[in-house]
């Protein structure tokens, strides 16, 4: 299988700031790579370089066999891009937006029109097709934007944080749409701040930090590295914190984190439900009163904490919240 996207030692600097610091990766045809990282990690810069919006300062990259610098025009006929903010015209209706994009892909007037209707139906926007995008909800805007990326049925797709800022229902709907695309054989590069999203959609995940890859692998490989679920305990008395910590440490597959102010202890474990059952049994035997106990999936914060030893400082609170 050949690679639809290749990047070798990509470098991009903005004055003093190095946005990309020698990033290299390849995305085989028909697979999905998720770039996972907080704001400012270099995810969007990577997408902008690969979609020819930005010239790299160093390194080289190809998409669908075209060089991002030397063969930009031809490259653009093979890609679809959906950005972080919906790049559609607010004053135009959904149908007019998609038709315009079709014409700019040079599909011709008739095919552009037909394709617009087809996509509106597919993304459940038929009722809103002839209303200006101005009146669309956040989820509808993302859907019309995603539809825009698909107008020419391009073999390689770039989705830059497609669900950031969406409510859980709209996010689930968008995930379904993206999963369908992937099943149909598109190559996809996706950026996200949500571990869960990467897990759900991607074949391979690359964790980026300060323009460098700090980990890569399948979701399972990454989870083995950072631990699967987290057990989170809250005790009632500060005096019991140490006992609880020691008990939890016996099951932990990584660092145990203690937050004394909130009497909270967190640790990654492998077999979540079973570990939680045993931990609670042992704590009950030891007479430790547990106020709250639960399992949760690793967040981007956990990934970062495990891989870099520091918090993902750029992560926006909303994204952190949503990933829980």
């Amino acid at each position: 299988m050949s690679d639809a996207i290749t990047a070798e030692g990509l470098v991009k600097r903005y004055g003093e700031v190095t946005a990309l610091d020698g990033l290299s990766f390849a995305v085989p045809q028909g697979t999905v790579l998720a770039l996972l990282g907080p704001n400012g990690a270099g995810k969007t810069t990577t997408v902008r370089v690969l979609t020819t919006l930005l010239r790299p300062d160093g390194g080289r990259a190809t998409v669908a066999g075209c060089d991002v610098v030397g063969d930009a025009r031809r490259l653009r006929s093979s890609i679809g891009l959906s950005g972080q903010y919906a790049a559609v015209d607010e004053h135009l209706t959904g149908a007019e937006n998609l038709e315009m994009i079709g014409r700019l892909y040079h599909l011709g007037a008739r095919r552009s029109k037909a394709r617009a209707r087809e996509l509106l139906e597919r993304f459940d926007l038929t009722d809103a097709a002839d209303r200006p995008v101005k009146g669309y909800s956040g989820g509808m805007r993302r859907r019309i934007d995603l539809a825009g990326a698909l107008v020419a049925d391009p073999p390689v797709l770039f989705l830059d944080e497609p669900t950031t800022g969406l409510d859980p229902r709209a996010r689930a709907a968008l995930w379904d749409a993206i999963s369908e695309l992937v099943a149909a054989g598109s190559t996809l590069l996706l950026t996200t701040q949500y571990m869960e999203e990467a897990d759900h959609l991607a074949d391979q995940i690359m964790v980026v930090d300060h323009g460098r890859a700090i980990a890569r692998g399948t979701a399972d490989e990454l989870k083995d590295q950072i631990g699967g679920n987290r057990i989170e305990l809250t005790v009632t008395d500060a005096a019991e914190l140490e006992t609880a910590r020691q008990t939890l440490a016996r099951f932990a597959v990584g660092a145990v984190r203690t937050v004394p102010e909130s009497l909270q202890i967190t640790a990654p474990v492998t077999d979540g439900p079973e570990s939680l059952r045993q931990v609670l049994g042992l704590l009950a035997d030891a007479g430790v009163r547990v106020r709250d106990a639960g399992l949760r999936r690793p967040t981007l914060d956990d990934v970062y904490l495990t891989l870099t030893g520091h918090q993902a400082s750029g992560t926006d609170p909303q994204a952190r919240e949503a990933a829980r």
Partner: protein, 267 residues
């Protein structure tokens, strides 16, 4: 599609988009259609009742000036909408498509030309109502409107360059107002410039707005032999001078706007 037809086809697609946009933005439509109407009425009845120009009615003298002024105002829509688009992600979309990059600015200026055409029609009708007439042949009348549209198109490229250098709608509006008011008023558009004090008179004589206005007056026959004619070359040979101004504006500002566009969107 080849290198020649693609910018035209893509420009047309963008122009269609802008035309739809303008139709749905009452504020833009208002400034292009309502302003000229208000100005015709205001100048014709307020200034017209106190200002005398020798040998002809002030309204006949005024209308070509109002035409030029309206064209300058609505050409600013090019710059304004570009700054609005810059704030959004739409240029990223355009740049990720296999379209001709020049299509964006071509489309923008062409749609504003269409809008200027509409606004000129409204004004000509208003003019006829308040007593303005064309005293030359229909052929020259057509040339007069053609010259106005050419100037409108060139001026759109100028406002595009200014907008792409400034990049925000607020700063564009401020600078555009600051530039266009002296341009319109230190000219012969509303007054007989030969009556101005010398420094202002010299500025007015060499102001491109005066040249265009004079050329349009010549073509419509809105002139009077009783009026003192200026010795300044651009007013004496207004039609070739107007064409020269238009050519210079296009030659300077098309490449400049194109370069500024590339810089503004790749930041």
């Amino acid at each position: 599609m080849n290198a020649l037809t693609m910018p035209i086809a893509d420009g047309w697609t963008i122009a269609r988009r802008n035309t739809l946009k303008i139709r749905r933005s009452p504020d833009l439509l208002g400034s292009a259609i309502m302003f000229p109407i208000v100005f015709v009425l205001m100048f014709a009845y307020v200034f017209g009742s106190v200002i005398d120009v020798p040998g002809m009615s002030y309204r006949e003298f005024l209308l070509p000036g109002i035409f030029v002024q309206a064209v300058i105002m609505s050409a600013q829509i090019t710059g304004y909408t570009l700054t609005l688009d810059l704030q959004k992600g739409i240029f990223d979309r355009f740049r990720s498509l296999p379209m001709a990059p020049s299509g964006v600015l071509i489309g923008q200026t062409v749609s504003d030309l269409l809008m200027n055409l509409a606004s000129l029609v409204v004004m000509a009708v208003m003019g006829l109502i308040v007593g303005w007439r064309v005293h030359t042949s229909p052929y020259e009348a057509v040339l007069g409107f053609g010259l106005l549209l050419l100037f409108a198109y060139a001026f759109s490229w100028f406002t595009a360059a200014v907008a792409l250098a400034l990049r925000t709608p607020e700063s564009f509006n401020n600078i555009a107002t600051m530039l266009s008011f002296p341009l319109m008023f230190i000219s012969n558009a509303f007054l007989d410039s030969s009556a101005l004090p010398t420094p202002l008179r010299v500025v007015a004589e060499w102001n491109p707005v005066s040249t265009i206005t004079q050329a349009v007056r010549d073509l419509f026959g809105n002139t009077s032999t009783a009026m003192k004619t200026s010795d300044a070359w651009p007013l004496h040979h207004a039609i070739p001078a107007a064409l020269l101004w238009i050519a210079v504006i296009l030659v300077v500002f098309i490449p400049l706007a194109t370069r500024l566009y590339k810089k503004a969107v790749s930041a």
